[in-house]
């Protein structure tokens, strides 16, 4: 069965129609490359966390089964931003569209729903976000650490830029030797 491929504009419109004011911001960016100046597109979407999981489900059901590359994260001061890098329409020559969905989580309540039941391959990157940024992924099938060793102190998150970050560790690198 041949799928009809939606244009990036149509994808954004579909998502906006489905989630209305839950979508705070959308950007469609294209870049050209090579001699023939063929284009590729990135879609950036900022969505409210309540609608995030529904949005992933919507993309899976109505657009294409997305490939989740990774989740990256930013410490933005008051909030933690998670960016889910999806791509759809892979398997079509030059047809792939990257969809980057970002979600802001307030630091006092950094909860986000797990998407492992939709995309089981999200497990490792969700575990990484828990240990690196201190977010709480609700409903994650396995919440152990993945990269950070078990003897690393609790409550320190290497990607944070606030007091929970690793700065003290780096500054006092030789503390361990003094004992």
């Amino acid at each position: 069965m041949k799928k009809t491929l939606l244009t990036p504009e149509k994808i954004v419109k579909k998502l906006k129609d489905a989630f209305k004011d839950k979508i705070k911001e959308t950007r469609i960016e294209t870049r050209k490359a090579g001699q023939k100046k063929k284009e590729y597109t990135n879609i950036w979407i900022k969505i409210h966390r309540d609608a995030f999981k529904k949005c992933v489900k919507y993309i899976t059901d109505k657009i294409d089964y997305p490939h989740l590359a990774v989740v990256s994260g930013n410490d933005l001061g008051k909030n933690i931003e998670l960016i889910y890098h999806f791509s759809v329409y892979y398997g079509h020559r030059l047809g792939e569209i990257s969809i980057n969905i970002s979600v802001d989580l307030p630091k006092e309540d950094p909860r986000i729903e797990s998407i492992c039941d939709i995309i089981p391959g999200a497990l490792i990157t969700e575990r990484e976000k828990q240990e690196m940024l201190g977010v709480i992924v609700e409903g994650i099938p396995d919440s152990r650490r993945f990269f950070i060793p078990d003897d690393f102190p609790e409550g320190i998150y290497p990607w944070r830029k606030d007091e929970k970050g690793p700065q003290k560790f780096v500054r006092d690198l030789y503390e361990g030797d003094k004992k």
Partner: protein, 406 residues
């Protein structure tokens, strides 16, 4: 009642370089459960990157991995160029593709050798690595180095490939065209190889999709996913390229270890073809970088704000870098995702139901950029027996010999 026991393998492990920890639940010889733990070599590279400026990160990115030392700078440069909206000169795009494809050739042949070693065919290991030397020589000739090639800069490349260098490239392509048939014959027509690799370590198409597998691992299961084909980046948009799946050669997709060998060997031939296309189409004149003076480039980059992703199809699969710049000396965030990250979960369905002696070849079949053999501890009734990496390798070799005698 049957009892199972736990078999921890790692943190130093049978497949390849670098550590990863496996915990197998074993029922007799059969694997009934698998758990993977990583992070033994977590070096905090992303954090180090946020203490450096965008040019310095290039050198760090290159040293993330010895084999993918083009793939990481490629993805990183693409991310920064995306943010700054830099259009790379056409000639540089072609040089990038040539170097990246040379890297794929050497990486896949290196892997083929390792795979042969894992099943106990060391003469094949030497044969493949002997073949690999030629492309390493060419890489050294073009870039000045065998491993860390330092070819990339933001907005272009650092060294040109000139017309008088073409004959050497063409000679190497000719050499591989003559010898790939032999390598394919050794790997794909051998009866014992087939016995060890056919229907072993199967990853179904459904699992490959759901577990977000990348690279040859996912293509061997029939998922058409290859950034080079999917996205018009660098010169790949101009070139004639298609997805490599095992049915091209064998007429069917099984998703086993054998299929993963097929895909990689076919991709070596595809890379030769791509390099030839590049030589044909590459402009002979023009700049190779938008700005050759590094301080000037850095000054521009320090003013740039925004976020972007850069992706590239490394030999092992898609590598993606996310960069956020805030108009300061250092990037605000730098996230690196290497292909093996996504190929960890697919190991689990591959290994379930297989035998202990199959662990090395199945684990190696995703071409993990992670780990290497040292010791294995078998915990049985509270007693601990340490199996060395050599023991595990011996088990694998013995299985091959057993099959050969049959």
């Amino acid at each position: 009642m049957k009892t199972t026991y736990t078999l921890p393998i790692g943190p130093i492990h049978p497949a390849l370089k670098e550590p990863v920890m496996f915990e197998f639940e074993i029922d007799g010889e059969k694997i009934v459960n698998v758990d993977v733990k990583a992070g033994q070599v977590h070096r905090g590279i992303e954090w180090i990157g946020t203490q450096r400026n965008p040019i310095q990160i290039l050198y760090l990115a290159e040293r993330i991995c010895g084999i993918c030392n083009i793939s990481h700078p490629f993805a990183y440069c693409r991310a920064v160029e995306y943010i700054a909206d830099v259009e790379v000169p056409e000639k540089a795009e072609y040089i990038r593709v040539i170097i990246a494809e040379l890297e794929r050739i050497h990486s896949h042949i290196l892997w083929a050798g390792v795979a042969a070693h894992e099943v106990g065919f060391d003469s094949v290991l030497y044969l493949s690595w002997r073949l690999r030397e030629n492309v390493m020589d060419l890489i050294e000739y073009l870039t000045g180095n065998r491993v860390t090639k330092a070819m990339f800069t933001i907005g272009g490349v650092r060294r040109d490939i000139t017309k008088d260098q073409y004959p050497k490239i063409e000679n190497t392509i000719k050499y591989y065209r003559e010898n790939m048939g032999k390598l394919k014959h050794v790997f794909l027509d051998d009866k014992t190889f087939k016995l060890r690799c056919r229907d072993c370590g199967i990853l179904t198409k459904d699992n490959a999709l759901k577990l977000c597998a990348v690279g040859p691992t996912t293509r061997a299961s029939g998922v058409k996913k290859d950034v080079r084909v999917d996205q018009a980046y660098s010169a790949y948009g101009d070139l004639d390229i298609d997805y490599i799946t095992p049915d091209i050669l064998t007429g069917e997709v099984k998703g086993d270890v054998y299929d993963r060998i097929v895909v990689r060997l076919l991709e070596v031939e595809q890379s030769l073809d791509l390099i030839e296309q590049c030589l044909d189409r590459m402009p002979t004149s023009g700049n190779i970088a938008v700005e050759e003076k590094i301080p000037k480039l850095l000054a521009t980059l320090k003013k740039v704000e925004g976020e972007g992703i850069g992706r590239h199809e490394a030999p092992r699969g898609e590598v993606i870098h996310y960069v956020k710049l805030t108009g300061e000396e250092h990037p605000y965030t730098w996230k690196v995702r290497a292909p093996t990250y996504n190929n960890i979960l697919p190991w689990i369905p591959m290994l379930l139901g297989e035998q202990i002696a199959d662990i090395p070849i199945v684990a190696a079949s995703t071409d993990p950029c992670l780990s290497c053999t040292n010791r294995v501890a078998i915990v049985e009734n509270g007693k601990k027996n340490i199996l060395t990496g050599e023991d595990l390798h011996r088990l694998s070799v013995e299985k091959t010999r057993r099959l050969m005698r049959k």
